[in-house]
Amino acid sequence: MNSVVRRYRLFLLLALAQVVLSLWQPKMGAKAMSVSWQNFLEMVTIIPPIFLLLGLFDVWVPKKTIIRLLGERSGTTGAMLSLSLGAFSAGPLYAAFPVAATLLAKGCSPFNILIFIGAWSSIKIPMLLFEASAMGWRFMASRLILNIPGILIIAFIVSRAAAPYPATDRPADYHRC
């Protein structure tokens, strides 16, 4: 019981902050609540299928398949596959990290996992369609074209300088500066 409270203490603190805000500034409080609620609904609709697929993937896809497709020796094909995997995904960035962690544990290379995260964050196809309808095709297309080399460059630099490790063999200072 205590550990549950500990894990959720930041959440409880912020929930309290929203209640205080609602009492002090009812209009702002209502806005905060409605935005949080809207996002919560988005989260509970999109997260379950992603995690179910993740569980199935974890159990059924053998490690050597991922090593072959996305591992250190997967080359350009692996990079392109990672980019497409990220781009064809759905869901907010916080859902991407558990997916990336599973791929990493299955033998996906650090370079490819960073491409995947970059694509998931910046060039998701459903998001691009929405962007084009709001901002115009020229805005969307120029951002897309400029972003792809950026994703590759950032993935290259980060994978060389500070590669992420799978959960099983992390260095002791992994979570420290």
Binding site: V35, M43, P48, L52, A90, P126, M127, Y165
Partner: protein, 158 residues
């Protein structure tokens, strides 16, 4: 999109169940554990989004994004995009409205870029999976790169 995901998940779950009940049970338990593991962080993120959007009104954002806001506006827009986490269905209509009301292309582009690629709010979650160095480096580089993209877009679109 969401519907497709549900159909796919349920279809594969059914196939998996037909092939091996034990493995399927294991995969659902894994899915639940992964979900329960990040739920506290996700809930925190959701509440922070709610609080920031309530405290920062669109009118205040408007001031930052004007064409005359110059370098200061670009930097402020980039920081705002980096620290906030606004879902696309809120951010793009907002950005489009700012654009129509005379917002600068560079300011809006840098905001959109950092909003997507840089996540100060999701940093604890990222560190948990990717470590401190990789997470800070990735976010730092993405922040810098957003300026390059935004200025290039300013050149192309103006």
């Amino acid at each position: 999109m969401t519907l497709t995901l549900y159909c796919l998940a349920l279809l594969l779950l059914a196939v998996s169940y037909a092939k091996d009940r034990e493995n399927t049970k294991k995969s659902v338990i894994k899915a639940w554990n992964a979900f329960a593991g990040i739920l506290p962080q996700i809930l925190v993120i959701l509440l922070v989004i709610g609080l920031t959007l309530a405290l920062i009104s669109p009118e205040k954002i408007d001031l930052l994004f004007g064409r005359q806001s110059g370098w200061f506006g670009v930097l402020a827009a980039a920081l705002l995009g980096a620290i906030t986490l606004i879902p696309g269905f809120v951010a793009f209509p907002l950005a489009a409205a700012l654009y129509r009301h005379g917002g600068g292309v560079v300011q809006i582009a840098v905001f959109v870029c950092t909003l997507m690629a840089v996540g100060v709010l999701t940093l604890p979650l990222e560190i948990e999976h990717f470590g401190v160095r990789a997470s800070l480096l990735r976010n730092g580089l993405a922040f810098l790169f957003s300026f390059g993209v935004a200025f290039a877009m300013g050149g192309i679109l103006q």
